[in-house]
């Protein structure tokens, strides 16, 4: 697959469609699986990794689903291309930075991604726009069944599917929902909300960010345990809390409009102003400002911007995307200048995000 063809699309998770997509960016389910007759990746020899990669690549290609997949040899990619796949959430940062034989198979919709030789031999991921865990689960179950009939996954009658880290053992499932929660951040309620989530053993992570400081008010909620409950129960555990968070965020947004209308309007307008006029701007600041503008559009404070466009900008202003769109490698300074240029051009033209850079 030519990665360039991907720059023209934005990928499933930023499509901006699906239920509750004003707050829920995407729903994702992933399964961790290992082949029974090889050491786990961290203890596998170079030969083992190559054998596992070939076995899984060939058997995945032999499934009915295999015909619709493109295989990318991640081990042979340039760093910028690996980074590009990370920005699209098709591979993990760990997978990008790992060593040895490894790859990823993805479908054209960018809903399914199968990482080979990540922390586990196989990490299957299904992602859908908006709040739709059921669709993601049904899709991934079918994928898992197809591969499972051709590959003997390591399984223990009592501990379930065996994984390199005991934190994933059992179902091997991680159910995540990515939410945009700017109003909870502005009203300083976000920490309180997360503390209550930890109490019911759900994990919270910021998008791209390390630690608790989420970039651009995007947060990912996921299950922390994988053993002792069925996949459906774990889906429910995450799924049940999302409507509550949506409700909190909606109420916080209403509060902001009702009580601090001028303030919010000012914040949002300034964010929009900077994005339209800056001459140099970092990826972090861009994400923060786009987050504010996104909220402004949803609150009806900014009229002429589409949510899908903001989602597109969120991914296209990331370092690797920016460089691939420009067609040259750029250092941090030049990227900041190019990013500002791209944003100005986009907003001046009032154009769609599909317009070219040049």
């Amino acid at each position: 697959m030519r990665l360039e063809s991907l720059t023209q699309s934005i990928g499933e998770w930023l499509r901006g469609t699906g239920p509750e997509s004003d707050i829920v960016m995407s729903s994702r389910v992933r399964l961790a699986r290992n082949v029974a007759h090889f050491p786990f990746v961290s203890r596998a020899s170079e030969q083992d990794r190559a054998d596992v990669e070939r076995l899984l690549r060939e058997r995945i290609a032999a499934t009915p689903l295999g015909k619709g997949l493109e295989y990318i040899d991640v081990g042979r990619l340039e760093e910028i291309d690996r980074q590009f796949l990370v920005e699209r959430q098709l591979i993990s940062r760990e997978h990008a930075e790992a060593q040895g034989a490894r790859g990823v198979a993805i479908d054209r919709m960018e809903q399914v991604s199968l990482m080979i030789n990540e922390e586990d031999h196989l990490r299957i991921q299904c992602m859908h726009s908006g709040l739709d865990l059921k669709a993601a689960w049904e899709q991934i179950r079918a994928v898992d069944d197809q591969i499972g009939t051709l590959v003997p996954y390591a399984f223990h009658p009592r501990f379930g599917y065996l994984t390199a880290c005991p934190t994933n053992v059992g179902t091997g499932i991680r159910v995540s929902v990515m939410l945009h929660l700017p109003a909870l951040v502005i009203t300083r309620q976000i920490d309180k909300v997360f503390r209550s989530l930890h109490k019911i053993s759900l994990a919270v992570r910021g998008l791209y960010g390390e630690g608790s400081q989420a970039m651009g008010d995007f947060y990912q909620i996921s299950n922390q345990t994988t053993l002792g409950r069925t996949e459906e129960e774990l889906l429910e555990q995450v799924g049940d809390v999302v409507p509550v968070l949506i409700d909190y965020e909606r109420r916080a947004r209403e509060f902001l409009v009702r009580e601090t209308q001028q303030n919010v309007h000012d914040q949002v307008s300034r964010a929009y102003g900077i994005l339209r006029t800056a001459q140099t701007i970092s990826a972090e600041e861009t994400m923060q400002l786009l987050s504010r503008v996104r909220m402004g559009v949803l609150l009806g404070l900014i009229g002429d911007v589409k949510i899908a466009d903001i989602n597109t900008l969120l991914v296209r202003t990331q370092p690797a995307h920016l460089q691939k769109l420009r067609g040259v490698e750029l250092d941090t300074n030049d990227r900041n200048i190019e990013r500002a240029r791209y944003l100005r051009h986009h907003f001046e033209g009032g154009g769609t995000a599909g317009s070219s850079v040049n």
């Binding site: 290992n34 029974a36 007759h37 090889f38 050491p39 786990f40 961290s42 203890r43 054998d51 076995l55 060939e58 058997r59 922390e119 179950r141 069944d145 499972g148 009939t149 003997p152 996954y153 390591a154 399984f155 223990h156 009658p157 009592r158 501990f159 379930g160 599917y161 065996l162 390199a164 880290c165 005991p166 934190t167 053992v169 059992g170 179902t171 499932i173 053993s201 994990a203 390390e210 345990t225 994988t226 053993l227 002792g228 409950r229 069925t230 996949e231």
Partner: protein, 189 residues
């Protein structure tokens, strides 16, 4: 607040950073002592090893609560028959070596798994092996990891008779589980 391992009052509140996430421990005096004791053992052992591996990345926390330092040191030296990883290496890295480790270290992993998940029994989906008489558990297939290691060692000491036996054993198991597309089918001695 109660101790998370028993009904006594928690007097120690410890925050641990492990594999990127923060974990809070609330322990009574007894459990705190055994916890701190075994983290010290791990730290001392890690210093001895002096491999420059980052400390605290492992799942050192809830392991072996109630075990003495001596018991733990002994346990650390035990290794997996298949992949050769020692329990110490696992504790240090937080990653297991192969699927057999769950059987090899079952007794030791159980309290750790119970601590992480609050359960020790899988209740979710199970593999559908179809007709053909293959068991649900994959221990038999995982034994190939040990056979492969044995084969390499046999080749190393030029014991080709032994190596051939190991290869044939691998082929038989892989044929049964993978239908002849295994590793021994392509290469081997």
């Amino acid at each position: 607040m109660k101790c998370q391992h028993c009904d006594k009052q928690a007097v120690f509140h410890i925050t641990e950073l492990e594999s990127g996430s923060v974990r809070e421990l609330h322990l009574c005096e007894d459990h705190a002592r055994s916890y701190l004791n075994q983290s010290e053992v791990a730290a001392a052992a890690a210093d001895e090893e002096a491999e420059g591996k980052p400390k605290g990345g492992g799942l050192t926390g809830p392991l072996g609560v109630g075990q003495t330092a001596d018991e733990l040191a002994l346990l650390d030296q035990r290794s997996c028959e298949m992949c050769g990883i020692t329990f110490f290496e696992f504790r240090n890295q937080g990653r297991l070596g192969c699927p057999h480790d769950y059987a090899q270290f079952e007794k030791e992993l159980e309290p750790l798994i119970a601590n992480i998940h609050g359960a020790t029994e899988h209740t979710g989906r199970r593999p559908d092996r179809g007709p053909g008489g293959l068991p649900e558990g994959t221990e038999e297939l995982t034994a190939v990891i040990g056979l492969r290691r044995g084969m390499k060692e046999a080749i190393g000491r030029e014991d080709y008779e032994q190596a051939r036996e190991q290869r044939d054993a691998i082929r038989a198991i892989e044929e049964r589980w993978l239908g002849g597309a295994g590793t021994a089918a392509q290469g081997g001695p």
